[in-house]
Symmetry: D2
Subunit: 317 residues, 4 copies
């Protein structure tokens, strides 16, 4: 059996895993990310991967490595064109890693990698067309069309968090106004919860948990309170789902996926979030009543999805 | 040389053409459309195609037929699921045409067919990833990704005119509020021009052409006046382009095309319309300054694009 | 005791009442409206008023007449500048009525008259600053500031239904896009209910009442179903209240009323509508948490409010 | 001749002036503001006013003092309920100042005071109904209706900068989303100019003035560049005026003023800003074509308007 390694380069940590042909993770490891120092990151990945390989049973062979990061990756999957969290520009990451590892390397956007992971081995295993949204601090995502990862003409497609939802709307980190990320992300959940909590008496219980300080309310606090039946917190999660469902409706007009997979930290809220997404999607999609609707499902691979996905992409390089 | 035939089934007429491998149209014909009577349409297409074939030089052989119509076509490209202009529902058009013509038949959405035509033989011949918007009464469109037509998981993708631009915005024929079609179509151009003309003294010249009746202002009147330098009409075309450019920006976040092709009747305004689209697109796309931008080009094949495209799809069936 | 008469000129009927100093209606009468024929309307009002006066107890004296209609009334309260339902333009109604009736006459916008009625004898009797919204086919309204009716510099103020809620939003009968009337009126309630009913299975019960035809759903049907506990209908009324509450919040930034009175046919839904208005208002008003909030109350005078109000304005002429 | 004193309490300075019956400023003085220390502010105002009075010609008599500040003032014009810049809550400023000065005192919101100044002695001297917008860092304003200052039922009316322009729009300092202040203020001008300058090559000249750093672009830089004919800067000022004009249109639906006065620092751009406001207002007001339109004029009193206004309000206490 041939193996590949997937590496997820984040702003605070780097995680790696050895992945089999069926998507199984045979070994995992992680370390702190020397985020803003590309040569140091390359060395760190070298150590991480060599450590993992050294621990494999005799006879195991790693044939390629996939590495993912948040940012724009070029069409050749070799250069990280722009990675805001890592402060990188036009970094020829593939060449550097291939030299360090002496193995073939493929670079991919992290949300694309996660979408591919869910498509191959997770919530979208049974279909050919999949849309994934990763609801974390921001809104990432990926698109699989007729079994191929939709990377776009310059490699920068699938930025589903940056479709415009509201003209002249809430500013987004990307420089635009009114992106889906401004309304459908974990950050948006926190922002709107704090806004409401400042004046809504119904927020009392949640506010108490935050020590009476609206600025100390966090996303996990809101979803946990919603899961425990708090009406105020539930209303905030429903609002979040309403926005995401509107985004899914617009994306469906273009992509018409068979399945929509919702991942990322906020998606751990499960049906509390998924049901409002389904409801909003069904109310806003064009041609409703005259078309089959994609199923909206929770992601299955959790935060291993990116590693599994990029390892599989390395195998298919 | 093998030939295929493309057929464009419209609400008022049916057009057909014999198309060579290189996209050249060898013969064309058209007739009135018995729009709401599917069996009669099948017979009419039969006559039209047989007439064209009969006129071909000896030794010519037609190997397949492609037929396109506005509406949802299923993933198997055999059934017209929903065609508002033709009042059809779940019509197994491929089977009926194959029986009538005794040739293999492929069904495709008309805007997809036009996009494919431009991709293969027109304004997008040089790239692998293309987005086409057809600006007519409505806004149609099609998507080519890595050389494949993006049809979606159920065959209903590429409805780029029905992304939501304005939440709770101007009602669209599709039943949603605020679609791109509500702001970026020829109908929207006429609607906003009439609205402004009712109270804007600058509309005097245009209004005179319409016999003093705002309700008699037409789209071609507006684009012709703009082409002749009329400031009021130009402002309306610029507004239209502003909206289309915003739509292209959102679509680019997802699709990242190499080229955006603008077709349809309104696109005959040329750079009068394309320049505002380019300008608005560049101002609204996510990641601007950090990414290559798709070129925005006018369509090259005019209204033959659909016939050429669907004929080529029949060849590649 | 001196009496005045109030006349309400509508598109389908004309109603009149004799009103005492305390706002009590001593006698009422109504007749069909010869809407588009101003001289005939003047004669009809003449008959109506003389009939009422003839029936009064001996010794009663009518000192003045107030007449209200939907439309713009000039600052001198004498001319109906523009009345869309009556197809009138610049009609010197006061002069014509004074000649017909041989009594002093005051003309007022109908929604202003209703607001004045509620201010003097109804839901706003206890305060000096009142905002009234009349939720009927459209959204009318009136403003009382420090005990004076806010008529504006040209007599056309108080058109609270035509503040813009959504830029480039749903077209309004006034020619603008996105007015409060487009979202907060009885017509909007019907429009959105029909839209949803077309595809929402939850609408089954309501749809059955309408004989299975979404186009036969009416406003009273929706509010009655909501009153009976139908979840789908309730959701529509809540949405309506959400929009009205947002409108009240914007109006409060400018006017800061002590009381907001909600009248008009749709307001008969009572707290079903008022509670969502209160909730939305409290969530959207600027400076919330740092200011006293106006109470939101239902109107008390029903459709007599306009007659009572305009009769009182005639008394204070 | 009796005199009154107007005091303008700002976050960085306190200015005062002795004002005659005709609005003439006879003497002025200013000092640094001990902003967050109310007792110290009261003492500082005491010194400032006594100093001014001491310098008046013999026989002059000051009969009352008006003091204005940004914030909510209660209906009795005695308490500063909430003043964000001064960090005051429920401060009984009138009582403290009367004790300090031994003169009758009136407290007023600063934008209301400026509106009253323009109404009595400035750009609105000839009319009874006036709307003023003060375009500075934020958007303030005031309303005069039939010759009376519109203070609302709780004293907090006239907050014209906090009408909602865009649902779910750009966050405002007041806690709401999408206020006029978010789009029509000097801060908005700077924000949008910086956004555009980051990617628009047309911004080169302006950017050079800012030393190549978009974050160093200021409002006066933009209006000066626009005045000098810079196309990029002009476009930004036009956009600002477009938003303000939309706001004026919504406010006119409610208030129907005879004159709209535009003041504040940004209004020094004159017709560069006023013309786009006029144009946008005329295109967006309800009932256009059927109503007289308010004239849009620049303020005449500059930053003395507040002092003159509040001094006059003290006279009419």
């Amino acid at each position: 059996m041939t193996l590949t390694v997937g590496v997820d380069i984040g702003g605070t940590k780097i995680a790696a895993g050895v992945v089999g042909e069926g998507g199984q993770v045979l070994a995992r490891s992680r370390t702190r990310s020397p985020a803003t120092d590309p040569p140091e990151i390359v060395r760190t990945i070298g150590e991480l991967v060599r450590g993992l390989v050294a621990g494999l049973p005799e006879g195991s062979e790693v044939e390629a490595v996939g590495a993912s990061a948040a940012g724009f990756v070029d069409k050749q999957r070799s250069t990280l064109v722009f990675a805001p969290n890592l402060a990188w520009r036009d970094e020829p990451l593939r060449d550097h890693l291939e030299r360090e590892l002496d193995l073939p390397v493929v670079i991919e956007n992290d949300a694309n990698a996660a979408a591919w992971g869910e498509f191959r081995f997770g919530a979208g295993e049974d279909v050919d067309n999949l849309l994934m949204l990763t609801i974390g601090t921001g809104v990432g995502g990926g698109v699989v069309l007729d079994g191929e990862l939709g990377r776009g003409g310059f490699g920068m497609g699938g930025e589903v968090g940056h479709i415009t939802m509201v003209p002249d709307g809430v500013p987004c980190g990307c420089g635009n106004l009114g992106c889906l990320e401004s309304y459908g992300s974990g950050s948006a959940l926190v922002r709107t919860t704090r806004e409401h909590a400042a004046t809504d008496p119904g927020a009392a219980a949640l506010l108490e948990q935050a020590g009476g300080d609206v600025e100390k309310i966090t996303g996990p606090m809101v979803t946990a309170a919603a899961a425990a039946g708090d009406a105020f917190a539930t209303a905030r999660v429903v609002e979040l789902g309403e926005w995401i469902g509107r985004g899914v409706a617009t994306l469906t007009a273009v992509l018409d996926p068979n399945v929509v997979v919702i991942g990322g930290g906020v998606s751990e809220a499960g049906d509390l979030l998924l049901d409002p997404i389904r409801d909003s999607f069904a109310r806003h999609v064009t041609g409703r009543g005259h078309r089959p609707l994609a199923e909206v499902r929770g992601a299955l691979l959790g935060n291993a999805g990116g590693i599994v996905g990029v390892a599989d992409l390395a195998r298919r390089r």
